[in-house]
C-alpha cells in the first residue's frame, strides 16, 4: 500500500512499501530452487565396448596399447613397431599397495600417440577394485589417448 503524504506542507514524501508479497515470492523461489538443486555432479566415461562382448579392436597388440591391472600393479604391452622415447618399463609395481596413476600417466606421456598408436585398452583381474580401473582409464586419457576401451572378455 503506497501512499504519499506530506507533513506540515513541507513536500516530503512518505512511502510505505508492503514487503509481504516480496517475502512470499522469495520463499517460494527458495523452496523451488532447493528442491531442484543438483548437489552431486555426475559425469560419464565411455567404456568403448562393442556388442557381443568384443572390444572395439582386436585382442592382439598389433595396433594399440594395452594396460592390464593385477594385484601387483600395471602390465603394459604395445606394438613392437612403436618407438618410444628411451626404454620404457613394461610393468609398474604398486607403491605401498596402491596403484601409482601419476607414474603411469608420466610413462604414457613418453609414448607416441594419435598418428602411430591412437588406441588403448584396459583390462583387469576380477579382484581389482572398479575405482582403480576407472582411474586407469582417466590416466590414459589424460596422457593423450582419445579412445580408451574397457576389455571385458
Amino acid at each position: 500500500m503506497a501512499g504519499v503524504s506530506s507533513e506540515n506542507g513541507d513536500n516530503k514524501l512518505n512511502v510505505e512499501l508492503n514487503l509481504v508479497p516480496f517475502i512470499d515470492l522469495l520463499s517460494s523461489l527458495t523452496l523451488f530452487l532447493l528442491v531442484t538443486a543438483v548437489w552431486i555432479q555426475v559425469g560419464t566415461i565411455p567404456a568403448s565396448v562393442e556388442p557381443k562382448g568384443k572390444a572395439r579392436f582386436s585382442s592382439s597388440e598389433d595396433n594399440h596399447l594395452t594396460v592390464h591391472l593385477s594385484s601387483g600393479g600395471f602390465q603394459l604391452t604395445w606394438p613392437t613397431t612403436v618407438k618410444a622415447r628411451g626404454s620404457l618399463p613394461k610393468s609398474l609395481a604398486n607403491s605401498r599397495g596402491q596403484f601409482d596413476f601419476l607414474k603411469l600417466e608420466r610413462l604414457l606421456n613418453l609414448m607416441p600417440k594419435m598418428k602411430v598408436m591412437p588406441l588403448a585398452a584396459v583390462t583387469s583381474e576380477d579382484s581389482v577394485e572398479y575405482g582403480n580401473v576407472v582411474e586407469t582409464i582417466d590416466a590414459i586419457k589424460k596422457s593423450g589417448f582419445t579412445i580408451v576401451a574397457l576389455g571385458t572378455n
Partner: protein, 136 residues
C-alpha cells in the same frame, strides 16, 4: 504487541536465492546416485546421456531403484544376473546407451559381468558414471 524486524530474513532469503540461481543448471542430470554409492573420480568426463541406469553397490545391483540382483548372488555365476536382462528388455535399444553407476570399491569382476550382459542385451554403448574432479 511485538514488532518483528524482517530485514535480516529478507537479506538471508535474497542471498540464498542468488546462490541457488548461480549454482542451478539448465542441463538435467539423468543419473541418480543412491544406495551409499561412492563414485570413482575422474577428470576427463563427458556429460551423461539419458539412458537406463544400473547401480552396483555393496547392497546389490539395482535398476531404477529396484533390486535386481542381491549382493550375495552378484558374486555367483552369470545365471544369477538374468533379472538385469529382463530389466533392460523394457528399454529402447535404438541408441544403445546404458549408464553404469558403480561404487568405487566394488570388484571389477561384477562390473565386467554387468557390462557383458548389457552388450548381450543390445546396449553396446556403456557409460561409466564418475564424479568429475577439476583438471590440474
Amino acid at each position: 504487541m511485538v514488532s518483528l524486524s524482517l530485514t535480516s530474513m529478507v537479506d538471508m532469503f535474497a542471498i540464498l536465492v542468488i546462490f541457488l540461481l548461480v549454482e542451478s543448471s539448465t542441463v538435467s542430470q539423468w543419473i541418480e546416485v543412491s544406495h551409499n554409492i561412492e563414485l570413482p573420480r575422474a577428470g576427463m568426463v563427458d556429460p551423461p546421456h539419458q539412458a537406463p541406469a544400473i547401480s552396483i553397490s555393496s547392497e546389490g545391483i539395482f535398476g531404477n531403484e529396484k533390486l535386481l540382483v542381491s549382493a550375495k548372488d552378484s558374486l555367483r555365476g552369470a545365471a544369477e544376473f538374468n533379472p538385469i536382462k529382463q530389466f533392460l528388455s523394457k528399454f529402447d535399444k535404438r541408441e544403445g546407451f546404458v549408464n553404469i553407476v558403480a561404487h568405487t570399491k566394488v570388484p571389477f569382476g561384477v562390473v565386467r559381468k554387468v557390462v557383458n550382459l548389457c552388450q548381450d542385451s543390445g546396449f553396446g554403448k556403456v557409460n561409466l558414471a564418475v564424479q568429475p574432479i577439476a583438471s590440474k
